[in-house]
């Protein structure tokens, strides 16, 4: 029974069926299955399989995102139960991410944010055309481990440098790792402005973020 339920949750997560996964998660709790067991033996395993199937080409981005959202929904059911037991799902790290001032390109930044949260990061997405002060304030407020800066225009990529300078002035630079991205951005550019890393797409961004957390 227990293994059946867990297998069912896993299958539905893999299929990205939000409703059914949430329903089964509730049933599992009612049946006395430990919330941490549901996380480790159903949800995490399912996400791993989704990731593998994406790598082999069987799955596509919509599968990844749907599974990620499903996972979040299931977790929101489990969280109160976990708290009651003084347990916590291990988050990989906290990330503040946004597109810099003067730039309204959203899609790449949001895709990176989604992939990070699917991969266990706690993500604060501050949006697009974001003034430098907001980035600084959000990093301070959330005590983020990582700051992700997106810029798609040659005219706005210089804001990435400015934000790094402001982090220094605010004495936050040592506390947060900065990753940059966007079409005109390169590894060379990242190095020249003193960022900690650059990634060319969402998958690489996840790898980078994990690396920077070590």
């Amino acid at each position: 029974m227990v293994t059946d339920l867990l297998a069912d949750i896993k299958e539905n997560l893999i299929n990205g069926d939000q409703e059914r996964t949430v329903e089964l998660t509730k049933i599992a709790l009612e049946n006395g299955i430990e919330p941490m067991t549901i996380v480790n033996s159903a949800l995490a395993v399912g996400m791993q399989i989704v990731g593998d199937r994406y790598s082999t080409g069987e799955f596509f981005l919509p599968n990844l995102v749907a599974a990620g959202v499903t996972m979040q929904n299931a977790l929101s059911i489990l969280e109160p139960e976990l708290q009651a037991r003084h347990e916590e799902v291990q988050r990989v790290g906290k990330v503040v991410i946004g597109t810099v001032k003067g730039d309204i390109h959203e899609i790449g930044k949001s895709l990176v944010a989604t992939m990070l949260s699917c991969n266990g990061f706690e993500v604060y997405d501050v949006g697009v055309d974001v003034p430098t002060e907001i980035f600084i304030a959000k990093v301070a407020e959330t005590e983020a481990d990582l700051l992700g800066l997106s810029a798609l225009l040659t005219t706005t990529m210089t804001m990435q440098r400015q934000i790094i300078e402001e982090l220094e002035k605010a004495d936050l630079r040592d506390r947060v790792k900065v990753m940059v991205g966007g079409a005109p951005v390169s590894g060379e550019w990242a190095e020249s402005i003193g960022a900690d890393g650059y990634a060319e797409d969402a998958m690489a961004a996840v790898r980078l973020a994990k690396l920077l957390m070590q």
């Binding site: 080409g57 919509p62 003067g102 309204i104 899609i107 055309d129 040659t154 005219t155 210089t158 797409d201």
Partner: protein, 487 residues
Amino acid sequence: MSLRIRILEKETIDQIIDEALGVLQDPGVRIHNEEALELLAEAEALVDREAQVAKIPEKLVRWALDQAPSDFDLYTLAGKPTCHYGGDAVQFDPGSAALTILDSESEEQRPPVTSDFVTFVKLVEVLPQLDAQSTAMICSDVPEEIGDLYRLYLALNYMCKPIVTGAFGKDTWWIMKEMLEVAVGGSEELASKRVAIFDVCPSPPLLWSDLTCQNLIDCARTWIPSELVSMPLAGAVAPVTLAGAVVQHTAECMSGVLISQLAQEGAPIVWGGSPAAFDMREGTPPMGDVGTWLIDCAYAEVGKALGMPTHAYLGMSDAKVVDAQCGLESAGGTIMAALTGINMVSGAGMLDFESCQSLEKLVIDAEIIGMTKRLITGIEIREKPIALSLIRDMGHRGEYLGHPHTMRWFKKELYFPSQILDRGSLDSWKSKGGKTAFERARDEVKSLVEKYEPSGLAPEVRDELRRIAERAADKYGMVKLPALPRE
């Protein structure tokens, strides 16, 4: 008889228009620009200032579509009308604002510099297949902040054909306008002899950002034409069904036409875009995809049904070098656009998701455009009977080569390719070095640039343009701009 295809049924077009009007009523459009919200509120759209959302009634949209001109021309710097927006006219310009250029020798992408863009502008001037210039790349040898206006400055020094351009911010738009006025001799001249058109982009889904919206309003108020570049990326920030993406495109464009007409009734505005069928494996917006072609052609048909001039970013490739993928994708998009009768097709030279320009690809694309322009003129009936009397006359003799009938018609009927296409024998190809299309294109670039003739822009005008560009550069710490390559 020119050749045209239609890909949407009349009923489908009507349904798309209906649904787009429904979208504008609810959920409406997000507008992050105070002036536009004010204009819409005055016109009695339902404006929620706090949420910055406007819900737009159908009659306003209909009014705007009526006000917007269905036709207008772009002029050369010398004041001659050359590009016609409206009806089924088909014209081509290069893709714009590339971040990199494909180096002719190493075939690797690198940041462009002043001399690259100047060569590019010269090439566009001499290639007869291209009808307009575009501010095609961003030069890396000037401060990033002036990247958008600097390319217009360079182009104005070398071009005569009209130009498709765009600003990256609110302020730089005004500097670009000032340069255009200097080049044509004043603001009235700029409004009447339109030499430039600005791209303005709504953000999918259903948002007007402050800056692009301001560009739209400022263009309208000064009678400078603007081109709506709506970009539903199907499955990412728009419905994944192609028709669904067109519904979103229609709603975004309708809102753009309305804002422009509220700012200035009768201002010239174009129904355009650069959508893509999002790639579900890579998370990229493929500009050379078949789904992308279909969305573009379908929205252009909707625009035509509404009496609007049309534009599309098509004829581009997502390949990283000029290879078979590049030829396949560019030709497909170009042919589809032309068959649909899209007035301005932007994209020649472009690779890698609108990131990279290539001189060689531009020359190859010019060949594709040449063939495509021939294609859409279709088959003409030159004589009646078509050939019966001629064939009876010739009987079973195959001696057409020197026949007067052949002499009379061959130049009109047949397409004559440039050196880009090899039509020689294997031996002759080998004897000429056994070159690939890319290598031949590289040779063509060199010989074409030699044919460029200076535009004859007055020295005082050049000085004035330089003063404006240097003033802008100075703000960002560059006192002297790079020297202009000789004409």
